[in-house]
């Protein structure tokens, strides 16, 4: 399947970015962005997971296969994980992820991971905006 051709940008629409956010840090940070009425592009759709360590690389491949223009995984800062060590697994897994995406013909710039704490609302806004701009720039492959 030619994954890149299935993206929304390819069809001329607005890109859709899927964001996996851990419940304790980034999801809370995103809530805080709302509470502070910060504005960011509406392209992101959040999937709430208990821990970034819960995100199976299979989920990311599935999102791209279905037509995601970008996927991000966000969790607590290393050392701050609600579950002590979950996000260390995340870190290791997603270093491998980029290679796997390339192998599947997906531009690794469509995938990003970032540590965003519950108080870093502005970082969430900036990160989402940044990924959105990158993905828009990549357009149709």
């Amino acid at each position: 399947m030619d994954v890149a051709n299935r993206t929304n940008t390819a069809a001329g629409g607005e890109p859709k970015i899927l964001a996996f956010c851990c419940n304790w840090c980034t999801y809370t940070g995103a809530d805080l962005a709302g509470l502070n009425r910060m504005k960011y592009p509406a392209n992101v759709r959040v999937v709430r997971v208990p821990c970034s360590g819960r995100v199976n690389p299979q989920f990311i491949l599935r999102a791209f296969a279905r037509g995601a223009d970008g996927v991000v995984v966000c969790g607590c800062h290393p050392g701050d994980c609600h579950y002590a060590t979950g996000n260390f697994f995340t870190r290791r897994r997603f270093m491998l992820m980029r290679g796997l995406l390339e192998f599947n013909g997906i531009d690794p710039r469509r995938f990003h991971a970032r540590w965003i704490s519950g108080s870093e609302a502005a970082k969430f806004r900036d990160f989402v905006s940044e990924v959105c701009a990158i993905v828009k720039g990549l357009g149709h492959e």
């Binding site: 962005a33 504005k39 759709r45 819960r54 999102a63 279905r66 995601a68 579950y83 002590a84």
Partner: protein, 660 residues
């Protein structure tokens, strides 16, 4: 048919002013599995909840999606509501269309489109939700307090007074900690022994308290409500059941060892009690120095003991006990300044001592019966220099923190010197004077009025000249170098975490910060809890403190432990992992990855026929330990382990829903 009901909230105008809620409800009605959709001004309000309950009854709804504020806001509210209906409270999903839509986007068209997407994802997920039931674990109604300083004593007494059994475990041969070394205590100057020893006696007499001295925590298994602790009882060589504490043995023992309790200012025998009012009031043998135990000579104590208590063959023993709650109260030590301050003589000068040594000197039951003298020659010092912040507030020495009690006890020491030695002169070198506490500033003020001279600046060097100690430093207010010739110098050194505190805490799943102080769950809102459920903190193990703060925190920790022990059982979240044994290959990859030790491999008898018996390994989940992070699910090669409430299929459905 899934019979899903979707309820879209306006949140007043918070949502409705940006999102076209009617359009969202209309779109929801078209989604597969949805049999009913409605919108309302405030879903979380009484009438809003009633409306949902009515709709459930009227339309036979089996699963619920609420499009509203963040699930972090009202998920529990709506779960509680569902308990009143026939619908399992876990057949609920929340689409966050306030924090993630109406509050962060302005264009109504785009926002509404995103809200519909989020509802579609929630509907897809809820269709795969399973009914879950919170289970409960029984709670062992007994607390363990680790450390018998004033923090541990207070916590143990409070828990015991509330009617629960408490075991207090102390590694030294007596409880009491640092406080029993002190002479008088600021700001009231009441005698430390007078207020602490009665508490110690209360402890030993309390029907709910069991005292363990010369003990260590060797290992811990289990979790909140059920900690199985392996206790190591170090050999005491004195049968504590029959010993009356007559003291014959202590008198006759020929060995002389420097007393740690008296900071090396006096000697003690090898069979000894830590201090005269020790609790328990019975001696133990220090195996490192006993002639019988080291060289098989002497044996005098055995000969003089009228009751035959001495048992040279005694050995360390280990045994397991179970506790429901744990209070860590491991306290502090003073930093080893001799290793850090070559400029102060690194311990070469006998008359440069630390604050606890001064406490022993000035203590009526101490080695000099309360006479402040120079350790070198026993002469009464006429000029005394007190140096504050030795080690504290000094990142260069690796200790950036303020030790908090020193400003006040330095003022206390100055006061005691001026009171006990007529005509004495006291100089206090300081960086700042910090007196935040009730009646503290007044106490400090009085000390200055009494005649203590405060010099602002660090002492850069201490050296000997003509039999006196020259303290050289800068008076930073005058901007010039000063030199004071002193007879005695007291270094008010930094508090640091007790040796081994981090390791002991780690056995219980609690952690320490970068400096080694035990880490509270939240610095402001959860100051006595740790990240490990059922493990609480009391006193200076959590950070430097004086006695009032220590005792207050200990009572706080006790209240938390009592709250836990008052329950017979505890609800556990059902959103934990479950193993499909048929799929599990027993590889154990999940076991290694679990941060909580919740997974283990167990033997499963797969087949038991007449001729053969097939056994294999499968993964078992300990429901009390699993916290539901789901890290193991990713490691599982066969997909046998899955996280309830966030199963693979649910997340995949959510993803798929976005592009259908």
């Amino acid at each position: 048919m899934s019979r899903i009901g979707v309820f879209v909230c306006h949140c007043g105008t918070n949502l409705a002013s940006v999102v076209d809620v009617e359009k969202v409800a209309a779109a929801a009605r078209e989604l597969p599995g949805v049999s009913y959709a409605a919108e309302y001004k405030y879903m979380c309000s009484e009438p809003g909840q009633q409306m949902i309950l009515d709709a459930i009854a009227e339309h036979g709804l089996k699963r619920i999606v609420i499009a509203s504020c963040s699930p972090r806001m009202h998920e529990t509210t709506f779960r509680k509501m569902l308990k009143k209906s026939g619908v399992n409270e876990y057949l609920l999903e929340i689409a966050n269309i306030r924090e993630q839509v109406s509050w962060v986007h302005t264009d109504s068209g785009v926002a509404t489109e995103k809200a519909v997407d989020l509802v579609r994802m929630a509907v897809a997920k809820v269709a795969k939700d399973e009914p879950l039931k919170a289970s409960s674990i029984p709670i062992t109604k007994r607390a363990l307090v680790v450390g018998g300083g004033i923090a541990g004593i207070q916590a143990a007494l409070d828990i015991a007074d509330a009617g629960h059994e408490v075991w207090l475990l102390e590694r030294e041969p007596s409880i009491g900690g640092r406080m029993v070394m002190l002479d008088k205590t600021f700001p009231t100057l009441d005698c430390s022994a007078c207020i602490s020893t009665p508490k110690m006696v209360d402890m030993s007499a309390h029907p709910n308290i069991k005292l363990l001295t010369s003990c260590e925590v060797a290992a811990v298994r289990g979790y909140i409500g059920n900690f199985t602790v392996t206790i190591r009882q170090k050999a005491k060589y004195v049968n504590q059941d029959i010993c009356t504490g007559c003291g014959n043995c202590e008198e006759k023992c020929p060995v002389k060892v420097k007393s740690d309790f008296n900071k090396g200012l006096s000697d003690r025998p090898a069979i000894y009690r830590l201090f005269p009012q020790a609790v328990p009031a019975k001696p133990v043998i220090d195996r490192a120095h006993c002639l019988k135990l080291t060289k098989d000579r002497c044996g005098l104590c055995e000969k003089v003991c009228p009751l035959g208590c001495i048992d040279y063959a005694d050995e360390d023993r280990e045994y397991d006990e179970t506790f429901g709650a744990v209070v860590l109260a491991t306290g502090y030590g003073l930093c080893d300044w001799t290793a850090m301050y070559d400029e102060y003589g690194a311990g070469r000068f006998a008359d440069v001592i630390d604050g606890l040594a001064f406490e022993r000197l000035v203590n009526a039951s101490g080695p000099t019966e309360g006479h402040i003298v120079r350790p070198s020659d026993g002469a009464e010092p006429k000029t005394v220099v007190l140096v504050k912040c030795v080690g504290s507030r000094d990142p260069k020495k690796g200790k950036p923190w303020c030790s908090r009690a020193c400003c006040m006890y330095a003022a206390k020491h100055a006061h005691q010197i001026l009171e006990k030695i007529p005509g004495a002169r006291v100089f206090v070198f300081y960086i700042d004077v910090r007196t935040p506490g009730k009646n503290y500033e007044e106490f400090y003020d009085q000390t200055r009025k009494d005649g203590a001279v405060y010099v602002r600046g660090r002492v850069s060097r201490i050296y000997k000249e003509g039999g006196r100690l020259i303290c050289q430093g800068e008076d930073s207010l005058l901007g010039k170098q000063v030199r004071v010739a002193a007879d005695l110098v007291v270094l008010e050194t930094a508090m640091e975490p007790a040796a081994g505190a981090r390791e002991t805490a780690a056995l219980f799943g609690a952690s320490a910060d970068a400096n080694g102080w035990l880490q509270e769950a939240h610095p402001k809102l959860r100051p006595v809890e740790t990240q490990a459920g059922g493990v609480f903190l009391a006193g200076t193990c959590q950070g430097p403190k004086d006695i009032p703060d220590t005792v207050a925190q200990a009572s706080g920790a006790a209240a938390k432990a009592i709250g836990l022990l008052n329950k017979d059982e505890m609800e556990t979240s059902p959103m934990i992992v479950a193993v499909d044994e048929a799929k599990c290959s027993g590889c154990g990859a999940c076991v290694d990855i679990c941060p909580f030790g919740a997974l283990s491999l167990e033997i499963l008898t797969a087949r038991e026929g007449r001729w053969e018996r097939a056994e294999r390994f499968v993964c078992k989940v300990n429901a009390g330990l699993c916290q539901g992070c789901g890290a193991c699910t990713v490691a599982c090669r066969t997909g046998a382990i899955d996280l309830r409430g966030f199963r693979n299929v649910q997340i995949l459905e959510e993803i798929d829903a976005l592009w259908t």
